[in-house]
């Protein structure tokens, strides 16, 4: 590469390109895509649905405006597939205002009319969309579940994005080979596949036209660059990639089309194990050259002024089935690219195992211990391999697991898991049991429940939960079937469609090797703490049921002593056996209950104990709970103790955590540690990285004395509330670049881009008392 670009030039161009992207305030491409689909609807009305969609994808690719920046070394953009609507990084986000992002019509309120995109033009497309079958089916599903969803006993949504396409065959054999493959088979899906795949050629042709135009007036230096780009595009328009540059270029174009096909909701697609995908193409390129090229791929993932394309994952390192380490030069090049660019997207994760080289931990040190720099989340391959194997993933597929969305484990190219299909609030179900189905928040009767005594609270809870889960499953499946109306022939080609001959969303024929539907379970530790508090309460007040319920109704007002008593009961996160075992038991029972339910195509639901900001929004709809938590307070995050409840430091918190049944969490889970950097004394980043391994990662993930399946996920923010308050008060001083990256559940965010309530949540949940490493 250094023949065409000078050393460092690629990096400078990548950074300039990113700055150009941050200046983009409007994202209208998705609207053009929807409008184009509307305008072409009539033209393809006689085609089979898959075939029609494939044609529409090609029409959109012909219609969207394209341009090539002077700083671009690759062509392609995903910005035309996204809208400025995702809640977390939206400054207008408020906890009370959040009603989910499932309404397919809400998007039309996010586009601000102007001269080009007039109110009338927007409304026409809005009306068209509102009459589509998918929207009708979805409305019906939501209507039937409204009593349960309005205060989030559960919630459901149609899951777009959230998978990991396997582009490796396309990179290796080329688009023509894939098209030939599709054409050699008969059926509507294959016909659609061949058409959709040809979209790559449409894009390449259009980009070459722009290049040819630019070549007429460009400088000599740019000419060399553009000619190299043009030559590469010609190569990959039919054949596979022959070097890293071509591999990244083809990858970008495939990604662009995949996202355009799902505009405006292509959230949370994942690259997968990027080092393994690209290392075969690195050839003679050095780590430094490879890193410079990769920086341009990173910039590609950032959309608009706030990097609106959220929750896109990149993973590195990991092991094979024999336990051999798979770290390669590309792993380190990718880390270099990430560290130097420090962008809000895409999210980096590192897969670890007991034979991970110390060098990798040394190299990670700079991420953890530089203020405002992204930190990779950590996966434990050794544990996760066991979890996946126990849940039916074939041995040979396991190393290809990767994560999508809020970091749910999935098999690249083979797994459609509808990860965020359903969301369940355990504490709200407990509220229903305690109050006879009447909301403590609104006083509305939300559901019928059976009578109970405090002594048999668990039995009553699980009986009610089972009924709630049945309702939830029915609604979730309704949403999945509604979504299947929106075909995705292009993506399906990289998810097993060319083998199974079906769209990956098909509700009758399974188009992927693996399939499931996710359920995000909320409030595990609040429920465990509440059960134990009820037990303690009953010992003290054997006939106190009414008093307890009244105290909850009044949010403990007038019940100050009782409130104190409830707060003093054992809490999860302090290595107290009785409550830790309660949490374990709840997790097992809930997981087994969910796995026993069938999704829209007959596969088990997958329990996922993660709560991407929904610990706030769902907590807002839960009244006071018997553990002493106040009405409308947040729930515990993922499987973590409720903030403030684990007060004996990191050691005890880890011990409680390790008692949870991780083998049950095949849908994933979330856990976060906010750690004060002062505990790490190493002389440099490398030494601190090794210290981090020795004192946090090894005891948690690779503990030889742990007889159970070990935790397999963790992310950290190594900082203090004081530091973050300073950054907010004086961003010019503490984050002069305007970017201060933090981790929040699955994703990186620019702390400065967040809504104030989410900023506050991050500060609160650092909860440094729960992670002290000194006593």
């Amino acid at each position: 590469m250094y023949g065409i670009y000078t050393q460092g030039q690629l990096t400078k161009m990548a950074k300039d390109l990113y700055q150009e992207e941050r200046k983009i305030k409007r994202l209208d491409g998705w609207f053009i895509a929807k409008e184009t689909e509307m305008l072409c609807d009539e033209k393809y009305k006689d085609c089979a649905p898959e075939v029609k969609k494939a044609h529409l994808v090609c029409e959109v690719l012909k219609a969207i405006p394209l341009f090539i920046s002077e700083n671009a070394i690759f062509v392609g953009a995903q910005r035309d597939a996204f809208a400025k609507s995702y809640a977390l990084i939206n400054p207008s986000f408020t906890v009370e205002g959040f009603s989910g992002y499932c309404d397919p019509m809400a998007i039309y309120n996010d586009i601000e009319p102007n001269e080009e995109f007039t109110e009338e033009r927007i409304d026409k497309v809005r009306q068209f969309t509102s009459k589509t079958k998918m929207v009708e089916m979805l409305n019906e599903t939501y209507g039937a579940a409204e009593d349960y969803t309005k205060e989030v006993i559960f919630f459901v949504e149609q899951v777009t994005g959230h998978v990991i396409p396997d582009f490796r065959p396309a990179l290796k054999y080329g688009i023509d080979a894939l098209i030939e493959n599709a054409k050699s088979k008969s059926g509507e899906f294959y016909e659609a596949a061949a058409i959709a795949l040809s979209g790559v050629k449409i894009l390449i042709e259009r980009y070459i036209e722009i290049i040819d135009e630019q070549l007429k007036t460009c400088s000599d230096e740019r000419r060399t660059q553009l000619e190299f780009l043009r030559k590469s595009l010609v190569n990959i328009s039919s054949k596979g990639a022959s070097n890293l540059y071509e591999a990244i270029q083809l990858y970008i174009l495939l990604w662009e089309i995949m996202c355009m096909e799902q505009a405006p909701n292509p959230y949370a697609f994942s690259v997968g194990n990027a080092d393994r995908i690209f290392e075969p193409y690195r050839g003679e390129l050095s780590r430094e050259e490879a890193a410079e090229l990769f920086k341009h791929l990173l910039v590609f993932y950032n959309v608009g002024d706030r990097s609106w394309a959220i929750s896109q994952n990149v993973l590195i390192s990991g092991r094979d089935t024999q336990g051999n380490d798979l770290t390669n030069t590309m792993s380190y090049a990718i880390m270099d690219a990430y560290y130097d660019m420090n962008l809000p997207q895409p999210i980096l994760s590192v897969k670890l195992h007991k034979n991970t080289p110390e060098e990798l931990y040394r190299e990670m040190g700079r991420f953890f211990f530089s203020a405002g720099v992204l930190t990779p989340s950590l996966f434990n391959d050794d544990a996760l391999f066991t979890v996946l194997k126990n849940n039916g993933v074939a041995e040979e597929d396991i190393p290809d697991y990767s994560v999508a969305g809020c970091q749910e484990p999935l098999i690249m190219g083979k797994d459609n898991a509808n990860t965020t299909n359903s969301w369940l609030s355990l504490p709200k179900v407990l509220e229903m049991v305690l109050t006879g189905g009447v909301s403590l928040i609104t006083g509305d009767k939300l559901m019928e429940t059976e009578s109970y005594t405090l002594e048999n609270i668990r039995e009553a809870f699980y009986n009610t939960l089972d009924k709630v889960v049945d309702k939830m499953v029915s609604a979730a499946n309704g949403a999945s079937v509604a979504l299947s109306e929106l075909k995705v022939p292009f993506l399906s080609c990289f998810m097993g469609g060319l083998e199974y001959g079906a769209d990956m969303r098909d509700p009758k024929v399974q188009g992927t090797k693996y399939n499931g539907s996710g359920c995000l379970v909320h409030g595990l530790t609040v429920l465990a703490d509440s059960f134990i508090a009820i037990d303690e309460f009953v010992k003290k007040y054997p006939d106190g049921k009414e008093m307890l319920v009244d105290a909850l109704k009044k949010n403990f007002e007038g019940y100050e002593d009782l409130h104190k008593f409830l707060l003093s009961c054992p809490k999860f996160g302090n290595n107290i056996e009785v409550v830790d075992q309660e949490a374990r038991e709840i997790a097992i029972k809930v997981s087994e209950m969910l796995r026993a339910k069938k999704n829209y195509i007959g596969n088990p639901f997958r329990p996922d104990f993660a709560s991407p900001s929904t610990h706030l929004t769902y907590g807002y709809w839960v009244g006071a709970t018997p553990d002493g938590r106040a009405s409308r307070d947040m729930l515990g995050y993922g499987v973590d103790p409720l903030y403030g409840e684990a007060s004996n430091g990191l050691g005890f918190r880890m011990l409680s955590n390790m008692k949870l049944p991780f083998e049950q969490f095949n849908g994933g889970y979330a856990s976060h540690l906010g750690i004060d950097p002062k505990y790490f004394k190493g002389a440099d980043y490398g030494e601190k990285g090794v210290e981090f391994y020795n004192n946090v990662v090894r005891p948690l993930f690779f503990n030889e004395l742990n007889p159970e399946v070990s935790p397999f996920y963790l992310y950290v923010n190594v900082t203090t509330p004081e530091t973050l308050r300073k950054v907010l008060a004086n961003p010019e001083k503490y984050a002069p670049s305007g970017v201060y990256i933090m981790r929040i559940h699955g994703t990186f965010v620019n702390f400065l881009d967040l809504s104030p309530e989410i900023q506050q949540d991050i500060i609160t949940r650092l909860d440094l008392n729960s992670t002290t490493m000194e006593c």
Partner: protein
């Protein structure tokens, strides 16, 4: 016995990752104390030897890098009988034990039999000065130190360096220590800090206790001159 604070520490009060119990109450009144809330002995949660054993056993997964349980304070030896019973139980369960003490207990040898790693403070060689500042002289401290030297018991001596209290005469320490066989003894200096200052409810009397790097180096040089084993932390 009463525990007023507990948690894990890495390599600070003994080897590896350790579960540290701060036992309530102290017989000294050091004005620089960083855990003043544990001085009076009125705070804390009652724990039996069995409670501690149970917790320690359930914490084994975190005793990595040769870790175990450490008792500190306050002053742990004020709970002699309970502590002895606890140490016996821990040893029976195969758990590594350590203690950090001011060594003012005459019954220390009884405990030592069940202690794998022994840390004691040695704040001043001059009993009058020590008594003036802390309310307790150093006679028993010296007796414990000397006996450990004579019997070849491994010991880790901590000297808190506090400006205005004990930093004027490094040789005073060395002259005393070097009279004994210190082959099995290591010395560590703890430079004054104010981490506990905000926890004081009474007046915090240390005005300027900080020691310079030069002073620390001076102590290290002179101890080295006397062939005393130092650990640098």
């Amino acid at each position: 016995m009463k525990v007023f604070q507990k948690g894990f520490n890495f390599s600070q009060d003994g080897p590896g990752n350790r579960l540290v119990y701060h036992l309530s109450g102290c017989n000294m009144r050091c004005p620089w104390c960083s855990n003043p809330e544990g001085m009076k002995g009125d705070k804390g949660v009652d724990c039996s030897p069995e409670d501690i054993l149970k917790e320690a056993v359930s914490s084994k997964m975190l005793f990595f890098s040769g870790g175990g349980v450490t008792f500190t304070g306050g002053e742990a030896t004020l709970w002699h009988d309970e502590l002895l019973a606890t140490l016996k139980l821990l040893k029976e369960a195969g758990i590594h034990t350590a203690i950090e003490t001011n060594a003012t207990s005459e019954k220390l040898p009884e405990l030592l039999e069940y202690i794998d790693y022994f840390i004691m403070d040695f704040k001043h060689f001059d009993t009058q000065v020590l008594k003036e500042y802390t309310g307790v002289g150093n006679e028993i401290i010296k007796k414990n130190f000397e006996r450990n030297c004579n019997q070849g018991i491994k010991q880790h001596i901590r000297i808190p360096l506090i400006n205005g209290f004990n930093t004027d005469n490094p040789r005073g320490f060395c002259e005393y220590f070097s009279k004994f066989n210190t082959d099995n003894t290591v010395f560590e200096f703890l430079a004054y800090h104010e981490y506990g200052k905000e926890k004081w409810t009474e007046e915090y009397k240390i005005k300027d206790g900080f020691v310079s790097k030069e002073k620390l180096d001076e102590f290290r040089d002179i101890f080295t001159e006397y062939n005393l084993n130092l650990i640098i932390t």
